[in-house]
Every structure is written in structure tokens, then in C-alpha cells.
């Protein structure tokens, strides 16, 4: 049993990663870029935020609301940390490793991420009454990451 398991693992390591890990890496990098932009805007008072500031789409209204911070930490900064972590965890060595921890961390991160974006979408729609375009891009990327990670996790054969 252990011989076949080792053989299987060795085969998995030498074979290509498939498209999901690469897509996860690309989405994480894209999220990192947008979150970095939002963080920069947060700490520079959003004076150059490329977004309408009237009507339903109003980034300034969202990013200056009470929901722009959690326990005093800017949400933009939390997003930056999330995507930075996901970018590292999506690097090929962390997909190839035999340790179960990178996969567990990825799954835990996207689960927390998706719950958090549901909270932020609720806040935008029902409390702030405005939509932030850049935040919506981040929400979409988080959702895509969640889908990629859970589907990849499902495709990995259970450890025997």
C-alpha cells in the first residue's frame, strides 16, 4: 500500500499541475494588484480613486464609511494581506508539496474570504447604499478563487 501511495505521489509531482493552480496564481496576483491600489487610496485619502463619486456607484462613500474598517484595521489592508497570502500559497511548490498544510490554509483562507465578501456586499447594499467598483472587482476575484480552490480540492484523491 505504501509503495503504491509513494508511486502515486511521485507521479503526481512529476506530472503537470493542471490549469487550476495556474489560474489560482493569476487570480491571486490580479487581486493583489487591485487590493494594493485600494490600500494606497485608503492611506492617501482616496484623492485619486478612479471611480464615480455620485449616485449608486460611489467608491468614496464606501471607502469612507464605517464599514471600511474592521476592528480599526482598514478592509483594504485585510484584502491586501489575503491576496498576498493566496499568491504565496498558489505558487507551484505549494501545490506540489506532499504536506497537507498549504491546501488546508488555501481552503481556510478562501472560506474566510468568501464569508467576508458576503458581509461587505451586504454592507454596501443595505447599509452604505452605494457600490464601490474596485471593491466589486475584489469581491469577484475572491469568489473565483473560492471556486478554483474548492474544485481543485475536490479533484485531489482522498489520502488512502
Amino acid at each position: 500500500m505504501s509503495v503504491s501511495h509513494t508511486a502515486q505521489r511521485s507521479e503526481k509531482s512529476s506530472a503537470g499541475l493542471g490549469w487550476i493552480p495556474w489560474a489560482t496564481l493569476v487570480v491571486s496576483i490580479a487581486g493583489l494588484a487591485v487590493a494594493a491600489y485600494l490600500t494606497y487610496e485608503h492611506f492617501t485619502a482616496g484623492s485619486t480613486l478612479a471611480c464615480p463619486d455620485t449616485g449608486v456607484v460611489n467608491c468614496a462613500k464606501v471607502t469612507s464609511s464605517q464599514y471600511s474598517k474592521v476592528l480599526g484595521i482598514p478592509v483594504a489592508l485585510l484584502g491586501l494581506g489575503f491576496f498576498a497570502g493566496m499568491t504565496v500559497l498558489s505558487l507551484p511548490p505549494f501545490w506540489r508539496t506532499s504536506s497537507p498544510w498549504p491546501a488546508r490554509l488555501r481552503l481556510a483562507a478562501v472560506l474566510v474570504g468568501v464569508v467576508f465578501i458576503c458581509y461587505l456586499i451586504w454592507a454596501e447594499l443595505f447599509q452604505i447604499d452605494a457600490i464601490c467598483l474596485w471593491c466589486t472587482v475584489v469581491h469577484g476575484l475572491t469568489l473565483v478563487l473560492f471556486a478554483l480552490v474548492v474544485i481543485r480540492q475536490a479533484l485531489i484523491p482522498p489520502a488512502s
Partner: protein, 302 residues
């Protein structure tokens, strides 16, 4: 013998086939579970959007919710002198500008004129220090509670309303004008108070550069024709998510962020009012905090 070997091989193949089928079933089950989780998330997000689109969102801020209750009035009028002194004027972002103009008076007393609107978040912020300062010289009655518009920046900032309020003082007079409510009808906020022609003239004349930084902004405050202020002296953000009672209660605590934002402005307004009342009452105007605030007056075009 050969037959037995064949039987064993067949059994092994059957077991292998069963294992493969089990693995396929397990893989299918895990994939369905994963896809189900993705679908659940998409349904939740779509559900939130749908509920919002069919009108389940937060309602626009409503009008004044009546007179400020005893708890709020007591909190506003019982801020300890030690708090005024402890907070001082540290961090004050803007101060009223000194102007040269005819004295603004009513019934023979120097007059403080406030013109703002209930929808306006900056007015919402500024009413707190104005009220705290005025409460050191006289008494408000029928002071309202409300909040700024839910569809503007710093939405639903908790505040007081001068609409319908009266102020009595032996030292000065006060006129508070709230030009609109926080409710929109046809894209416009509903009108509320109309300034007298005289007050409108004061607004039009002195709410312009060089008296203030930018013309026409609200809130506009004229302190006896000696000082004017336009806009908020601190960010409304510090009041976000609080009730009026929570804001009023926080004012007595010199370590609270709300007191640190409101009290310095209140001290500066108090110092400006003391200039109108010939430093009366002495207990207020000669306090350390007010003396320190007086030194800050006239500098900035608020």
C-alpha cells in the same frame, strides 16, 4: 489448480473494479459538494442583490425623531470642566475666522447665527460642538435629534437638530436654521426652515471668500459679526455608527475619540462667544481651556 488460479484472478479483477467504482463515486461526490458550495455562495450573493433591487434596502434617513431626551440634554450640559481642560484645543482642525463687520445682534444681545441642513453630514458633525459651547451660556429647549442623509458621504451621522429649538441666555441670542430635512422627494431634500431676509443677507455676504475659504458651504456660523465659520471643524467619521445618546455620553470622557474631536471645537466656539459677551460668565471664559482656545481664534478661514 488452473481453475482455482482463474477464480482468484477473477476475484481480484472484481475487487479492483469495485474499488475503482468506489473511487469514481467518491470523486463525483466530492466534486458535487464543491460545486454545491460554489452555487450556494453565488445564490447568497444573487439573493442579496435581488432583495436590494426589490426594495429591501435600508430606508432613507427619516426626519427629526423628536426632542432630545433628558439623558442627552443632561449629558450635553454636564460635561465636567476637567474634560474641557484635559482635551483643550489639541488637534483642532479649523477655527472661526475673525471678520470686520457690523455687529450681529438680536434683542440687544450679540447673536450667533447657524445655517445648515439636516441632510448635511458636516452640519451633523458641527452641531455637537456648537451646542456644547452654547450650552455653557444658556439653555436649549426642544432640541431635536436626527441624522444626516443615508445617501451622502458619512451617511446617517447622528446629530441634533436646531429646527424648532429655542435658546435662552442672558448673554446672547441664537438662531438655528435647518433649511432642509434629510428626506428626499423627487431628487431634492424637503425644505424645512427659511432664513429671514436679514439672516439670508448675512449668509450671502459673509459665507464668501475672503471671509471663508469656499463660498456657500454649510454649515455657516456667524458669531456676532466678529467671527465666521463654514464647514465642519472635524471629520464626521468619528461619529459613525453611534446613536445621539452614545455621542452625548462620550463627551464627558476626555479619552474618547468623540470627545477628542468635539471638545476642542467646542472650546474654540466658547472662546469666540466669550469675545461677544465681554468674557461673561467669568467661570466659563476664564477657564484654562477657553483661554488657550482664545489664542487660536481668527487664524483659519473655517
Amino acid at each position: 489448480m488452473a481453475r482455482r488460479v482463474e477464480q482468484k484472478a477473477a476475484a481480484r479483477e472484481r475487487i479492483a473494479a469495485q474499488l475503482a467504482a468506489q473511487q469514481r463515486a467518491e470523486r463525483r461526490r466530492r466534486l458535487l459538494l464543491a460545486l454545491g458550495a460554489v452555487v450556494v455562495v453565488i445564490v447568497v450573493v444573487a439573493g442579496l442583490v435581488t432583495i436590494r433591487l426589490v426594495g429591501g434596502g435600508k430606508k432613507t434617513a427619516t426626519g427629526p425623531s423628536g426632542a432630545a431626551d433628558t439623558q442627552i440634554m443632561t449629558a450635553l450640559t454636564s460635561i465636567p470642566e476637567s474634560t474641557f481642560s484635559a482635551v483643550g484645543v489639541e488637534g483642532v482642525q479649523a477655527t472661526p475666522s475673525a471678520i470686520t463687520a457690523p455687529a450681529l445682534t438680536a434683542n440687544g444681545k450679540p447673536k450667533v447665527l447657524y445655517i445648515g441642513a439636516e441632510f448635511c453630514p458636516y452640519c451633523a458633525a458641527e452641531r455637537w460642538p456648537v451646542t456644547v459651547a452654547l450650552s455653557r451660556f444658556g439653555t436649549f429647549s426642544n432640541l431635536g435629534t436626527t441624522h444626516s442623509s443615508g445617501s451622502d458621504v458619512f451617511p446617517n451621522t447622528p446629530t441634533l437638530s436646531f429646527h424648532g429649538a429655542t435658546y435662552s441666555s442672558q448673554y446672547l441670542a441664537f438662531t438655528g436654521v435647518e433649511t432642509t430635512t434629510n428626506e428626499q422627494v423627487g431628487g431634492q431634500y424637503k425644505p424645512l426652515d427659511t432664513p429671514t431676509a436679514e439672516d439670508q443677507k448675512t449668509f450671502d455676504t459673509y459665507n464668501q471668500p475672503p471671509y471663508v475659504k469656499s463660498g456657500g458651504s454649510i454649515p455657516f456660523i456667524d458669531l456676532g459679526g466678529k467671527f465666521v465659520s463654514s464647514g465642519a471643524t472635524y471629520s464626521p467619521e468619528v461619529l459613525a455608527g453611534k446613536t445621539q445618546a452614545q455621542v452625548a455620553d462620550a463627551l464627558k470622557d476626555p479619552s474618547s475619540p468623540i470627545a477628542k474631536a468635539v471638545i476642542p471645537s467646542a472650546n474654540v466656539y466658547t472662546a469666540a462667544i466669550c469675545k461677544l459677551t465681554n468674557n461673561q460668565p467669568t467661570a466659563v471664559c476664564s477657564s484654562d481651556a477657553v483661554t488657550a482656545a482664545a489664542a487660536k481664534l481668527g487664524g483659519g478661514k473655517g
